[in-house]
């Protein structure tokens, strides 16, 4: 039983990052109908930006809350800018091209980010200073750390912020309209290109924050870390029903739980087989994901 609770706690923590990354996939897919392959690598860039911030501030360990907040903020803003820049340079020029061209461009950007960071870091792992060592809330058979709680709270706060942004602001409303019908939104006076860039900014922001959180939690980061996590997060976005933000959040947490339980009860070697097998099985029976999508496929 205590084993089960422990996996549950770990799964919820992992799910908190995954949901943040998945939301970016979902939002970006909503407005440009693109599986942004580079999104996992944007997450990786966020982890490195946060690492850079912490080392620049000279943090070496202990509980340095202001430094952590600074790292998350810098990481998120960096990826926000990087994500917007990518969209401007590589995706916007291709909006009128066949969808496949856009996807290939995204794959190219993904490779370029990975290879770029690989060259810059000499293909080495980097280790985050152990700043989340705030002790344990629960110890004994089930361990819950303050760090885990902090990550989950931060993640929930970011998601709540996103929800308010999407439902309560004019820009967020326009974004939802854009996801439903680009031409109609344009005819109503929405500046489509600008809004696409805003979406990339917000989506990448979340991924960057998740990247720093990942670094704080697992401490080891490398140029290739975005690929598998990106795939798992995209799986969550599809399962949640693409464009469906609450569904995506739930599915992100669910994938985190699947990852934790399969690693615990089966073997971490089979985790991805189980996750992708689940994806195929769900889509075979529910082609629009578990909770239904909120976008319309254009002919």
């Amino acid at each position: 039983m205590s084993e089960f609770v422990q996996y549950l706690v770990n799964g919820l923590t992992i799910g908190a990052f995954l949901a943040l990354i998945a939301l970016g996939y979902s939002m970006i897919y909503g407005v440009v109908r693109l599986i942004n392959f580079a999104h996992g690598d944007v997450f990786m860039i966020g982890a490195f930006a946060g690492f850079g911030t912490l080392t620049t501030l000279g943090v070496t360990g202990g509980t340095a809350l202001p430094a952590i907040v600074a790292a998350v903020a810098v990481g998120a803003l960096t990826t926000g800018v990087v994500g917007t820049g990518i969209a401007r340079a590589a995706y916007v020029p291709l909006l009128a091209s066949p969808r496949l061209a856009l996807l290939i461009a995204a794959i190219g950007v993904s490779l370029a980010l990975q290879e770029g960071v690989k060259v810059l870091t000499d293909a080495r792992f980097k280790s985050y200073p152990n700043t989340l060592d705030g002790g344990q809330i629960l110890s004994g058979s089930v361990r819950v750390t303050w760090g885990q709680l902090a990550l989950v709270v931060l993640s929930v706060a970011l998601m709540a912020g996103l929800w308010l942004f999407v439902t309560r602001t004019m820009t967020g409303t326009a974004m939802r309209a854009l996801a439903m019908d680009r031409d109609a939104a344009r005819l109503q006076g929405v500046n489509v290109e600008r809004l696409i860039l805003v979406t990339f900014f917000v989506g990448s922001l979340l991924a960057g924050a998740a990247g720093v959180m990942y670094g704080l939690y697992y401490t080891q980061i490398s140029f290739g870390m975005g690929f598998l996590i990106g795939l798992r997060a995209f799986t969550a976005a599809v399962l949640g029903g693409i464009g469906n933000l609450p569904g995506t959040m739930v599915a992100g947490v669910a994938i985190g739980l699947v990852q934790s339980f399969s690693a615990g009860y089966v073997s971490s070697r089979w985790t991805d087989v189980i996750i992708f097998g689940l994806l195929i099985a769900v889509l075979a029976f529910r082609p629009t994901g578990l909770f239904g999508e909120r976008v319309v496929e254009r002919a």
Binding site: L103, A105, V109, E115, V273, I275, L283
Partner: protein, 586 residues
Amino acid sequence: MRARVELGRAEQVVRYGGWPSLVVVALVAGQAMDDYGLTVGATILIYAILGLGINIVVGYAGLLDLGFAAFFAIGAYTAGLLMVELEWNFWLTLPAAVAAAAVAGVVIGYPTLRLRSDYLAIVTLGFGEIIRITVINLEVTGGPNGLTGIPPVTLGGREIVMPRDFYHLALAFFVVVLAATALLARTRLAYAWRAVRADDTAAEAVGVPTRRVKLLAYVLGAMTGAVAGPLNAAQLGTVDPSSFTFLTSLMILLVVIIGGMGSRPGVVIGAVVIVALPEVLREVQEYRGLFFALLLILIVLLRPQGVWPYRPRRFRLPAGAGPAPEPVSATGTLLEVAGLSRSFGGVTAVADLALRADAGQVVSVIGPNGAGKTTAFNCVTGLIPPSAGTVVLAGRDVRGRAPHRVAAAGLARTFQSIRLFDEMTVAENVLIGRFARDRRLLRPLSRADLDAVRRCLDFVGLLDAADRPAGGLAYGDRRRLEIARALAGDPRVLLLDEPAAGANPTEKRALMGLIARISALGTAVVLIEHDVALVMSISDRVTVLEHGRTIAVGPPAEIQEDQRVIAAYLGVPDDPDPDLVPEVPR
């Protein structure tokens, strides 16, 4: 490759003499190269075979596959295991590897055919990862070390171990696969693939069995690609799981992206670039990946159609009109719809619709926008299942059947928003309409197909435009082409959804003439239309819908006098212009 000669000639040279000369060049180059060059050359040929495989799935059928390395792996492991564990001969493992890949193609293809294209991409990616992780985790496949000790290929008692011999073997494999895919490209199936890629709903509606066509793309692509697996295993003497990663799938995909989707010469160019470029860049090892990534982005931005884009083959339409089609022995009632209902959630779009059309009749359905006319059409053609009711076509119940089966039973349609296969030529569009009559896939185009294409194009007056891309036609011509495509299946019943929308008075008169000629063939025409003058002048009977309910049925003269119809739709005579029915653009 070749100096830029005049384009048209270059095309001809390549189409008829290019491949043999390429093989000669490859043979001559094989004599000149050292062992290193020959090994790279053989790898290029292996990637070209993989490229020809993925070209079927992605290039022809437009199904994005991001896990194609899975089929490469399945081919390699099947052959490797049979050779190492059961000591099978290489040549015997080849069919086994191809068969295993075919099974895998069905397994991954069948449950995912309903998915939208992007989800398909992610599912194939997941499938690729599943295969890779599984072979790493299983004991029988040698775990992370893979299989070792695979014997060399023997041919005529001689072991093929020298790089030069292996290069020739790979070249022979490539030529065989190339010939097979070239034959495949001439079949009706290849045209069906391109139609499905352009618009699968329209393809299904005019008679293409889209699910079978897509599944065949998966299976045939997987089988083609799997050939590369045993070859690769024999070249290296090992099967290494690290050569089947996502990056491998990406490289295989890039072969067709760089070369040009659907283009076989493009596959060769793509394979050369993908394999040779990294070798050239070996000097700057660490920047290789970055360079490659940037090159990829540049290609997509600057030349998204690829280096050697696909060019449609010209149709050789018969010079004279072929024999007249066997008259559709059509008399009596051809379409009988009764009690047809359809609701979406709580909204009833169509309620208790009855519709009858006899041979040679023109029956019209009119009503305000949102009255349920197009929904009724969609129910009749099987595009959406009706909630209740019967649809009987020439004595056969077709309710609830797949649209291509309804089309095959003799019911053709056009769409309110014209749905052509824009990237295909005018003649090719009409050819797809033939699938309603003849669903065979693995056959070349028959004389009857070409005759029908010519006849239908001539019938609507588009014969001169036969080889032009459909996407470039003017609006009126697009409407006529859609009608020609519908006629190509010799339908008993033709459903036209607002064919006069957006037409000028001259075009409307021509359209009326066309409809009259179609009904004179014995075909029953069912028409949705807002142009009241047109409807009243050519219809034998008119059905008026409002809010999904039928409010009047009868000959035009009666309908024009019907008070309810006037109130709901026609309007009172002192309207500014009774002919100008308000139309909401969609």
